[in-house]
Amino acid sequence: MWDYFKGDKYNWQLLCEMAERADLVSVFQGTSQYGKNFTFFGPTSNSIRRYLYANGMDKVSDIPVADCKKFILDCLLPGKRVMLDDFKEGVKSTDPSTPVGKGGEMLTMASGKQLWVYSFRESYNGVAHAGPLQIYLVSPSTTKTSHVASCNIETLTGVVHSLDYNFTPGDF
């Protein structure tokens, strides 16, 4: 996974810098406690750049080490490789008192953070359930919904699902 990130500078360069700063390169290389079979919801460089701009920082080395570590571990689901079809289908919440809807599954990330993850098949040209299957992550604490842009990126040490460019670290 580390080689994959290094290979795609446009999307993953800032993530690599964050991992280096937080000393988590070994996680992506598969030599850490999380092993070689985990799922990673990757925040792209654009997301990290937005975070820097919103907080008045210029470069990744301005982010405190603890925050870098937290942002990466919030996105890491240890244990197994979860592919697109393995996510449970669900429906967005229609109950204003809770952001968690029906179906889906509560997953615990490596940092201990709980996220409600579900997949939903969108409609296409007006036909229900004829469109692509999309993965959504909802954080009960911030009530924000994050969306996966590219899924099922298989690497030697795990599966990457990249979060779309609208995500900002801290949305979880």
Binding site: V91, K92, P96, S97
Partner: protein, 515 residues
């Protein structure tokens, strides 16, 4: 004998036959007002145009509404002249009301078997339509056209503000004279009318109070010919009739919480509402509430298909908690609990604490199998209460303060304060004087509910302090040249291809520079 036959033959030839043919396969003005049912079609048209035009005040709502962040129309809010000139505004809706009203008045004599009460009902609706339209035209455009009747079509000249307001008063007074009070309003089948859009004596009285209060203020602002003090006296007089229940029975709701349940259409009719734009759910399956202001403030939790985090990207008018705290420094004010969702709990999005508008609590959703949540939001479920009794109390207080009757003004202000459970005037939080306190009370009472704030600011002369952007730097000459009004709409003097159809109209001097 011959002579008798000859004479009787002549006599027969002297009879005439009626040559008036009634067209049997077409609707013309001469054959479509024969029965009350046919006349009622025009009355219904007047109501329809009022319903769809009066609430549509996008430019002044964007400029005047109390919000910290708006998603849409930021340049308009700053009154950027080029943005204003190119934005969407037209006075056609008002002239539709005026045309239908004039049509009714020109043709009501053709209706047979019309009893005096029914005649008064229809005439009253038409006169109210005329009074309301001319008032809103004067308020939004300043100079406007006064048409002669429904049949003369010609390039009209503009009449000045004073003339338009005088026309409004004349028609409103006629409506006031003929209309019954709201409890006696019946439709043509004899059923009672319960919506507060249909004009009654109380509605016409409220219109008169509003026109006079506005007229007094603009007489002073624009140095018009007229007696502002007399206008304020008249406003007080009509407001008093409403408050003393002489023109219909209206009561203040018991508390802000009760007010919100009425505003959210959970119970009906609202005892405090005097004139509302009716939310006609039967009109179509796509119909939305006429209250665009309420729509623009709505967010989670009324939007059941959203979460709190969606507020910053989908709610058009956003309010910070700090702004609401500054507006309501008195924490005993029950309006804080009633108007805002879970006041006291933090509602944090991206580091800013927002105040969640909760005056309008019900929304209408359509089931939608395609949407991720299974339903899609259509509209907030609410009538647009344009004038309610609290408005009249505060209007009377404002006019009394301008007349120098401070004691009466304070009494009215305190009626509203007491209803809200807040401290009476003067309290430790009232540091800016009576005039400002009355204005702030209007802000507090009507926040998130209607578009009146712009007009309130103009009447009280707070343009430079309460509005933003170019409003703060307008010179007195700019204001006299029409900067606070909308420019003359293009469709008034050009047709859709750009050809000039009325060369008697002139753009206001301020807007001429940006044309």
């Amino acid at each position: 004998m011959k002579r008798i036959i000859y004479l009787s033959l002549c006599a027969c030839l002297l009879t005439s036959c009626s040559l008036d043919l009634q067209p049997e396969n077409g609707l013309t003005y001469s054959n479509s007002f024969n029965t009350e049912k046919e006349l009622n079609a025009t009355t219904t048209s007047i109501q329809y145009y009022i319903n769809t035009t009066v609430g549509n005040n996008y430019d002044f709502a964007t400029a005047g509404v109390l919000a910290d962040n708006i998603l849409d129309g930021k340049q308009l809010r700053e009154w950027n002249p080029r943005t204003v000139i190119t934005s969407e505004y037209s006075w056609k809706g008002f002239y539709d009301i005026i045309f239908e009203s004039n049509l009714l008045l020109d043709n009501i004599d053709r209706t047979k078997d019309l009893s005096p009460e029914r005649r008064n009902y229809h005439v009253g609706q038409a006169e109210f339509g005329l009074g309301l339209s001319y008032f809103l035209l004067a308020q939004r455009y300043g100079d406007a056209i006064i048409t002669e009747n429904s049949s003369v079509i010609k390039p009209y000249q503009q009449s000045s503000q004073e003339q338009v307001l005088a026309a409004a008063i004349e028609h409103a007074k006629k409506a006031y004279d003929v209309l019954p009070t709201w409890d006696k309003l019946t439709d043509l089948n004899g059923n009672a009318i319960t919506n507060r859009q249909t004009a009654s004596k109380g509605t016409a009285t409220a219109l008169l109070a509003q026109i006079y209060a506005w007229k007094g203020s603009v007489t002073e602002l624009y140095h018009l010919k007229g007696n502002a003090q007399e206008d304020y006296q008249n406003a007080v007089k009509y407001a008093t009739e409403l408050i003393d229940n002489k023109v219909g029975s209206y009561q203040l709701c018991a508390s802000p919480e009760v007010l919100c349940t009425y505003l959210s259409n959970e119970k009906s009719p609202n005892p405090e509402a005097i004139f509302s734009l009716y939310f006609d759910k039967t009109r179509s399956e796509n119909v939305v509430s006429p209250n665009e202001i309420a729509q623009n403030y709505v967010s989670w939790p009324v939007r059941e298909d959203q979460t709190l985090a969606d507020l910053t990207s989908s709610t058009t008018y956003q309010l910070y908690k700090s702004t609401v705290e500054t507006l309501f420094p008195d924490t005993t004010d029950k309006r804080l609990q009633a108007f805002f969702y879970q006041w006291g709990t933090q509602h944090d999005v991206d580091g800013t604490d927002y105040a969640i508008m909760y005056k309008f609590r019900k929304a209408i959703f359509d089931p939608d199998q395609y949407s991720p949540s299974g339903k899609s939001y259509r509209t907030v479920d609410a009538d647009y209460v344009y004038w309610r009794l609290a408005d009249i109390y505060l209007l009377r207080a404002e006019c009394n303060q301008k007349l120098g009757n401070e004691a009466q003004a304070i009494a009215d202000l305190n009626v509203i304060r007491n209803r809200a459970g807040a401290l009476s005037y003067p309290s430790t939080y009232d540091t800016e004087g009576l005039k400002k306190a009355i204005f702030l009370e209007r802000e507090k009472e009507f926040i998130g509910e209607n578009d009146a704030r712009y007009a309130d600011i103009i009447r009280n002369g707070y343009v430079k302090e309460e509005l933003q952007g170019k409003f703060k730097v307008l010179t007195n000459q700019d204001i006299q040249n029409g900067a606070l009004f909308l420019p003359l709409p293009k469709d008034a003097w050009q047709d859709k291809d750009g050809h000039v159809i009325n060369n008697q109209l002139r753009q206001k001097p301020y807007w001429q520079a940006y044309n």
